[in-house]
Symmetry: D2
Subunit: 347 residues, 4 copies
């Protein structure tokens, strides 16, 4: 019995990454999983060979329109669509279809947060796709609906969860997340031109304006009763893929480097996709490029009385398409790690 | 019966890439292939976690010295060593060991060429690892010795073979190959610093001084009786991985775009790792990053009376480590494509 | 008596570069030259502080619409507009105004070439702004109209002129010009996104399709009676500024390295903006960034019987805005080098 | 009467930048200032044309050894040397020579801080070269000795001074400074290779280990009586030049965006090299490349109860060589802005 998978928004970066990973999935190799409709908007009628020559196995496939009719008859539908449109399409898919949504529509549980940051009506919330968060793996197993997390919240949540849960820090946290340009998507725009982004660094959507702020706060609140305050500063840097997150928070008196390190090692001991690096080795984004890994480092700064946690992910893999496939694996009952590289394409 | 594989020069870029690919090889997953000794020189005693955090499966492995004793007891030995030292080590390995050499030592058949370009005694020549060259796949099957080709000759040979063999061009060829910086290896050097290479372009080893020139000439001579003349200009460009080769040669009178295209499509019809792109689509290096693919385009310029062939490879994959694993597959009787991605990590 | 200068297309890259250079011009410092209207299209009403914070001296200036009325009353008008529109505006400016056009409209002398490559009616031709070409400096002195050359033709013409004129080569030339992304302008477009251009290399408008091909041919024909044939391959590389040109052509029998070198040193002996590098030093684009220099190297490859000439320019300075200011200096009778850096911003 | 200037460490990045700026200095153009000895260590005997082709005016100059004898007879000596050696040379120069030191030796006033971070004996302290700090301009005027500040402290001090002085924030500050690779100097090293730095991001010398931490703390303590606590996280990013500093600190209750903005506008109202950007415009490093500017933005985040200040400088210009020339101008009585570009080489 073959599982038929559609990808809506297939010619965008999230869609392309999902396809790249599916083509390397053992269930695709064995024929158990089949890639069906590829849909998009402005690229309808073009072939994959023209749009995404990095996927030669699909070279002759033609992009179709994103409609209920084209998506019908699939067992799994990945949505790599703009928010709003994503919920609209999702609501037209039957309850038996496994829907894995890479947009923001179903991430936030608080309707007021949604309205404030997205300015439209809240579509609801679905099981949230960071399996490494306590309880989430269980919710995702067999789920017919998955909200894939945002790329910044993924890197920052994995960096901060253990520290917040174990009370190593006051959850009054300054997060600076430096991202490659593919996080902004494949839409023509002057500020994202190569000329504007190469050889340059720029903060943007600062001081709480970035829509990923409430998502990160929501995640951390799941593991603490304290108030959580996040100052979030995203920075655009000249690389295609990768997010380096630096998070600084007040150290709880008496916490030592050894304790902090042990908390992290224990928390992630059984996680296939989170690597706590040896002491003295800082996460470097090139080491996770193309992989589903998150590399983490924790340091106690007793002079400044702060904890510094750093993490590196590939925004398109663990930050989007890899998380989506990891969630599909849980939803369909495949091995969680199937088709997901742990090795990075370095250098 | 497990096949035990050693990698000498494991902490260099070629070694790291071979390891990345072996970790994704189905024979590694099934336990049929085992990764044994990892050796190097200046990094002896360090762990993989410290040197190559992009290979988390090997995190605790310690780098050993490159000696006959350490390499003994392995069925396959990959050599990612400086030329000269590579032949020295190779000559200490028994005839039953499969030796796959990424250095130049055994590539050239002509001892005079070797002396002229490398200034030392010729070590001999081994089956040459471009399986797509006529007759080479057969030589590589079951071979105990393989000379992995240079990265520039790989991109240029795959670009030019069909045109030279089918007499589309006069083999008086201007090749400009633009390469990412990892091709120069992982050795400390001022001209290869990020500050010297980012935001800059520079030709080097021009006018026949590059050691890959005789290797490319040798390859093309295998498919023509005509004299082959190569003007080879390598250019260093600010990207980590990738070679874009542009090759221009006089058009043989009467050859048409349709004929030229058909020659290429026929030549590569059954090749899993060479993709002749649709007309109008030029090879782009990001589409082959991390993959074992070579993307090719051919154009007849009737005004300038030239043929332009362009190709894109990842210098560390199809250009080195991927070719090495492809040759290992042939040498050991695995499926040729096993463990070798055809999808690129784009963007 | 103050000279009033307007820049049309001020918010594009050519316009921005002209303004950067004018702000460093001694005539601006002395008050002899004044920056008047800044005009554009989609950015009308925005301030320079919002659009081009790299020009703090003009922070409060507001962009106006590009009309005859706004441009009236200026002594010099720089045009950094799309071709076609450039000629349209130029034709509305009085004969006493010094018009310096960075578009292509008035570069080609042959109307048939224009029609073939641009598909519209030929607007005519103006004195062509490479002062280093024999006779051109004289034409540009005091001229009221100047056609600023294209960036690729500038780099390739300066590389090839001496060799063609002195008959060092057969003028059957393969030119591969590798360019930074700013050459494509500041227009939103998916193929020019940072994600598509960083970490990647791609040829484009190959095999004579690039509009700069007839311009380069025209330039070289000025110094030879032979037929000139150009195979031109532009390549897009991941850097903001810079063009590295490699030009290969058949060596005329008997020409030696010493002769070739002397031809170049003599040709450029008195040129302030062309530097023939010492033997063994290849041009590197970072050494000319932000400067009006062209660095050149010439090598005779006796094995391949070819001459290789390489050159490096900053496509926005010597390739556009610097050439425009150099021509303004000649047109207005300023010192030719005024306001034009000879030092590059390296590394 | 000509002023004769020597540059020790001339072939490094600081030395090269000082030379670039001196060549554009009006006193050099007028002959009032003359460039004398250029000294270094490993490059002795090479010409500037070979080492720094971006400085064509000095092409034929030969690098000499860094000795007292070679440096004798100059009125001004710039030191771009490793710390330790810098003090050693400085102490051999007479009291009438104007010595401008780009190393760290004379920056710290506290001997204990020096010992802790540099592990050697404290050489003393000199007038510290951020003229924008209260009282410093006056100290630098006519001074025979100047300690040029570190690049990170420059960007962070200019970002934070007004906020700390005006009590907008608690001086318990998290600073994340993202830097281009030239900040690490021109020394061969594997972690600084293009392959290791392009396409990658990495924090380093974290948690108070970076030697610039005590320097920044010292600067901020000059304008407040409160304790100053700095968590400093430097990040290496793939660009040649530029530092983007993000600084987050607790907002003092009741401070508004309007008040905060006014403090910054007033503080920098008369400063030629600091630009407070319009609201909503974030500093972008490409806008200051090659210039002596620092662009600053301040935002009050009332939700997170934090102030975010961001700043952009070119680490080699305002961060080193530009600061050195600005201090030379003050020391010699030139106009402070002479020879220092305010326009950035963008894009």
């Amino acid at each position: 019995m073959t599982i038929k998978v559609a990808v809506a928004g297939a010619s965008g970066y999230a869609g392309g990454e999902i396809l790249r990973l599916l083509l390397g999935h053992p269930a695709y190799a064995s024929g158990e999983l089949e890639i069906g409709a590829l849909t998009a908007a402005s690229t309808v009628g073009s072939t994959v060979a023209e749009l995404m020559p990095h996927l030669p196995q699909l070279a002759d496939r033609v992009i179709e329109d994103t409609t209920k009719e084209v998506l019908a008859g699939h067992d799994v539908v990945f949505l790599g669509l703009p928010h709003g449109f994503s919920a609209e399409i999702a609501n037209q898919l039957g309850p038996d279809v496994t829907v894995i949504d890479c947009a923001a529509d179903f991430r936030l549980t608080n309707a007021a947060d949604w309205s404030k940051f997205y300015g439209s009506e809240h579509a609801g919330s679905w099981p949230y796709g960071i399996p490494e968060m306590p309880g989430h793996r269980e919710q995702l197993r067999g789920s017919k609906r998955v909200a894939v997390p945002g790329c910044f919240p993924t890197g920052a949540t994995l960096a901060l969860l253990p520290a917040v849960q174990a009370d190593l820090i006051e959850p009054d946290i300054s997060v600076v997340s430096i991202t490659g340009v593919s996080g902004a998507g494949k839409k023509a725009s002057v500020p994202l031109l190569g000329s504007e982004t190469m050889g340059s660094l720029k903060a943007y959507n600062t001081s709480g304006k970035h829509r990923h702020t409430p998502e990160l706060t929501q995640n951390l609140k799941e593991v603490t009763d304290k108030d959580v305050t996040i100052s979030f500063t995203p920075v655009l840097a000249p690389l295609p893929r990768g997010i380096l997150t630096t998070a600084t928070a007040p150290l709880i008196d008496g916490v030592t480097q050894e304790q902090a390190r042990k908390v992290y090692e224990d928390f992630y001991a059984d996680e296939p996709f989170v690597l706590v690096l040896p002491e003295g080795v800082q996460p470097q984004t090139q080491n996770v490029v193309g992989s589903n890994m998150c590399h983490v480092q924790i340091e106690v700064d007793t002079v400044a009385r702060k904890v510094l946690v750093t993490s590196a992910i590939d925004n398109l893999t663990k930050g989007t398409g890899g998380a989506a496939v990891q969630c599909m694996n849980l939803a369909l009952g495949f091995e969680e790690t199937a088709g997901l590289p742990r090795t990075g394409v370095a250098p």
